[in-house]
């Protein structure tokens, strides 16, 4: 059976779900970040699948953009985490609750 578009979308959805749940569950900042990257990748898969099944190159182009954004975001996000770690000596995001109330 040829994997149809639906299977790729299903796979993407499952990966996305795992990533989303992971963001909520994980307390480590780096872990959260990695789950976010997982979600981004799931979306990339969706784009590529559509691009393949509709013969449109735009999907892959957008994946290219997403990837570059993810790279930039990785740089800046990790910078923030390091700066945060310097102040509090822990990367537990639950400690970053200064905005409470």
């Amino acid at each position: 059976m040829e994997p149809s578009l639906a299977s790729y979308l299903g796979l993407s959805g499952i990966l996305f779900t795992i990533g989303a749940v992971g963001v909520i569950f994980k307390r480590n900042a780096i872990g959260m970040f990695m789950c976010i990257e997982l979600m981004l990748n799931a979306v990339n898969l969706t784009f590529v699948a559509f691009s393949r099944y509709y013969g449109d190159v735009n999907g892959q182009l957008f994946v290219f953009m997403v990837m570059s954004v993810a790279a930039a975001e990785a740089a800046v996000g990790l910078g923030i985490i390091i700066a945060f770690f310097r102040n509090s000596k822990s990367v537990d995001v639950d400690d970053a609750s200064l905005m409470r109330n």
Partner: protein, 744 residues
């Protein structure tokens, strides 16, 4: 006809007020500041006087001699649909007479005040207010429509407040000023309602027929005379919304302004102001504004017999009421204040029985002798170093002869001794009251004998208390240092504290009149010329000023003809009476041409009033009554001497000294309940409780709501992430819902 000089009469005092206010304050501490303020103030009033007399007698033939009023349309103030109110002045005979004596007496009082207020720190302010008052009063008198007159009406009320409360540091002055203003305000309601009703009934509020900008403006009074008919003489007419209602409403305003029952208690309290203020405002000018209003609207009143009857009754009652209080007062100014109220009652009595001209005549003579008496008392007070209690005076004729003689002239005038001014006017009033049946529009006049009795009794009492005042002040032995009962021994202060004082070391304002005990070597001295000269002028006027209005009955004694110049001048102002007028005698037609025809000829053209005076039996009655009233005046003076010559300090009944407890009555039944209602009910209950409750409640509600929302901000990133995911799921779910429908 137009004459633009009219506006100068009112704008000169206004300019004086502005100049004094702006520049006088700047010059306050310079040595010539008093001279500057005094010259500016008196000078502008002098300009007004000269212009007023010029227009009254000479311009365009003289306003007091020609038929048409002299108008001056300054600018169109309000013109909406049918309603038109201009800032326009008009001098006809009535306002001409008023303008002349108001400016002249005002000028004399201004000159007096420069002497009286010498040394006072707020000199410039005083004269600014005084000029402002003259501006308002002249606007009131010279206005050519009801609305502008009301502007002047309010203006004099305001200036009265400012001037009564001139000594701002004294409690009684401030509360007296407030009381005066509030009571005036209550009356103002009546005037406003009256003006509204007049407009509703007639469609105009102008006094004169005139053409403005090519548009014909009709006078209220010609409209009333031609289109409306007399109201019935019943109580119901008061509430019917017709001319009687108008009359009653306007009279309510007049009671407020002229201190009649029930709004009279402010006038005695107003004596807390400086004496020139009392003389000008509360004797000669402002309080007569009510009489002016009634006489100006006489066309309305002649069709509103119930209103006239009410005016007459209240006038008589007030006259008697005030006279009974006056004989028990010990403060010289209070005696004169109640005397003013009483005399105003006479004027309203005259207006009420239909003798409008006589009412104005009494206004004029009263202005002369009451201003004289007040200024004289001011001179006495000044000489006594601001001691106002008569029980501490006595034998002042030795020390202040000019004051003594001039006040004597005023005393005789007010008592009604022949030749003096008061005699003619008061006697006319008494006669007209007695014979009211003949003059009242809807005859007969019920209760005229009672009113005449009351008026006569009041005249006797007037003589008694004025005599008492003269005795206590000018004759007898000196009581300067007698301690009054109940007064502890007051330490003597320095002698030179008052008259020329500048700032006191003790920090007391020298703007107020203190009652210090008099030093042991105190001798009162005569006042300076600036104060005595006006007194002399007024004394001359009080003595001879009544001769312009000699009624025919008197002048015919000496073979003279009808020389009642005053009456002739004012006749056109008094509209035609209704057809019930007594027929004229043919002799009328042959009279001199100096009498102007009445503007509206309904009955055969003549003035019934003048007609009456000339028939023989009427003349005899009048002479008889005149003799009677002279006799009663003499009796009154005699009683006064009898009671008080030996015992000047004789105690009068306490109820009279306490003003029949009228103030306490008002306070108890009207003022206090309203104060309580305002404070506890409206302020605490409504404003603080309800409105603030709503406003604060909204605030609290918002705070609580935001607290509720704030609980979402937990501060934990993961919770935020969860909520974001939730939101995303909702959006997805929305699309899925529609997808479900699509797919089936």
């Amino acid at each position: 006809m137009e004459n633009n000089l009219l506006s100068l009469i009112i704008f000169a005092p206004l300019a004086g007020a502005v100049i004094n206010w702006l520049i006088g304050g700047y010059l306050k501490d310079k040595p010539y500041s008093e001279m500057f303020s005094g010259v500016v103030a008196c000078g502008t009033i002098a300009i007004s006087t000269i212009v007023a007399f010029y227009i009254a007698f000479f311009a365009n033939g003289g306003a007091l001699r020609i038929d048409q009023p002299i108008l001056d349309h300054i600018w169109t103030w309000v013109q909406v649909g049918n309603f038109r109110a201009d800032f326009g002045l008009g001098m006809d005979r009535l306002s001409g007479v008023y303008a002349c004596f108001v400016t002249f007496v005002g000028l004399l009082i201004h000159i007096f005040a420069t002497g009286y207020m010498h040394g006072d720190k707020g000199f410039y302010r005083f004269f600014a207010y005084l000029n402002l008052f003259m501006f308002s009063m002249l606007t009131l008198v010279l206005a050519d429509n009801f609305l502008l007159m009301f502007v002047g009406w309010e203006g004099v009320g305001l200036c009265s407040y400012l001037l009564i409360g001139y000594y701002i540091k004294r409690d009684e002055a401030r509360s007296a000023a407030k009381k005066a203003f509030v009571m005036n305000r209550i009356g103002d309601w009546g005037v406003l309602m009256g003006i509204f009703l007049i407009f509703t009934l007639t469609g105009t509020i102008s006094f004169y027929d005139k053409i403005v900008d090519g548009q014909q403006v009709q006078s209220v009074f010609t409209f009333v005379a031609t289109h409306m008919s007399a109201d019935p003489f019943t109580w119901g007419a008061i509430f019917a919304g017709g001319l009687t209602s108008v009359g009653v409403l306007l009279f309510i305003g007049a009671t407020g302004k002229s201190a009649q029952i029930p709004l009279l208690t402010w006038l005695p309290d107003a004596m807390a102001g400086p004496t020139p203020v009392s003389a000008l405002i509360h004797a000669a000018t402002m309080v007569t504004a009510g009489v002016y209003l009634v006489v100006r609207a006489n066309a309305i009143y002649q069709f509103a017999p119930t209103a006239m009857w009410i005016i007459a009754v209240i006038g008589a009652a007030t006259a008697l009421f005030a006279a009974t209080i006056a004989i028990a007062q010990n403060d010289i100014k209070k005696v004169l204040a109640y005397s003013t109220v009483s005399q105003l009652g006479f004027m309203f009595l005259a207006a009420g029985v239909g003798a409008f001209v006589v009412a104005i005549f009494h206004v004029m003579t009263h202005a002369f002798f009451k201003a004289l008496l007040f200024l004289g008392s001011g001179s006495v007070i000044h000489g006594m170093h601001h001691e106002q209690d008569m029980r501490k005076m006595g034998n002042l004729r030795k020390y202040m002869p000019v004051t003594y003689f001039t006040m004597g002239a005023g005393w005789l005038a007010i008592c009604g001794i022949p030749i003096f001014a008061g005699f003619f006017s008061k006697d006319e009033i008494l006669y007209r009251t007695f014979a009211a049946d003949n003059f009242f529009p809807q005859r007969p006049f019920p209760g005229e004998e009672i009113l005449w009795t009351i008026a006569t009794l009041t005249a006797v009492l007037t003589a008694v208390y004025m005599t008492r005042m003269m005795i206590m002040t000018f004759w007898g032995k000196e009581r300067f240092h007698d301690a009054l009962p109940g007064e502890e021994h007051i330490v003597d202060h320095g002698h030179d504290e008052h008259a020329d004082a500048d700032a006191q070391a003790a920090g007391e304002g020298d703007e107020d009149e203190h009652h210090h005990a008099l030093p042991a070597d105190f001798k009162p001295n005569e006042s300076p010329w600036s104060m005595t000269v006006p007194l002399v002028v007024l004394a001359v006027l009080s003595t001879f000023g009544g001769l312009v209005g000699i009624p025919y009955a008197m002048s015919s004694i000496f073979g003279g003809g009808d020389v009642n110049v005053f009456e002739h001048t004012l006749e056109p102002v008094v509209a035609e009476e209704s057809e019930h007028a007594v027929h004229e005698t043919p002799a009328m037609e042959a009279r001199g041409t100096d009498r102007s025809p009445a503007p509206i000829a309904k009955a055969p053209a003549a003035e019934p009033a003048a007609v009456e005076v000339h028939s023989p039996e009427v003349v005899a009655k009048e002479r008889g009554l005149a003799g009677l009233s002279t006799l009663l005046a003499a009796v009154g003076i005699g009683i006064g001497f009898l009671m008080f010559w030996k015992t000047p300090l004789r105690h009068m009944p306490r109820i009279l000294a306490e003003k029949w407890r009228l103030d306490e009555f008002y306070n108890g039944y009207i003022v206090d309940p309203i104060t309580r209602l305002s404070r506890d009910g409206l302020w605490k209950g409504f404003d603080l409780g309800f409105i603030d409750g709503i406003v604060n409640g909204i605030g609290h509600f918002v705070i609580e709501l935001s607290n509720l929302f704030r609980s979402i901000q937990v501060g934990f990133v993961r919770s935020y992430a969860a909520i974001i995911l939730l939101g995303a799921l909702v959006v997805l779910g929305y699309f899925i819902y529609f997808g479900l429908k699509l797919v089936g």
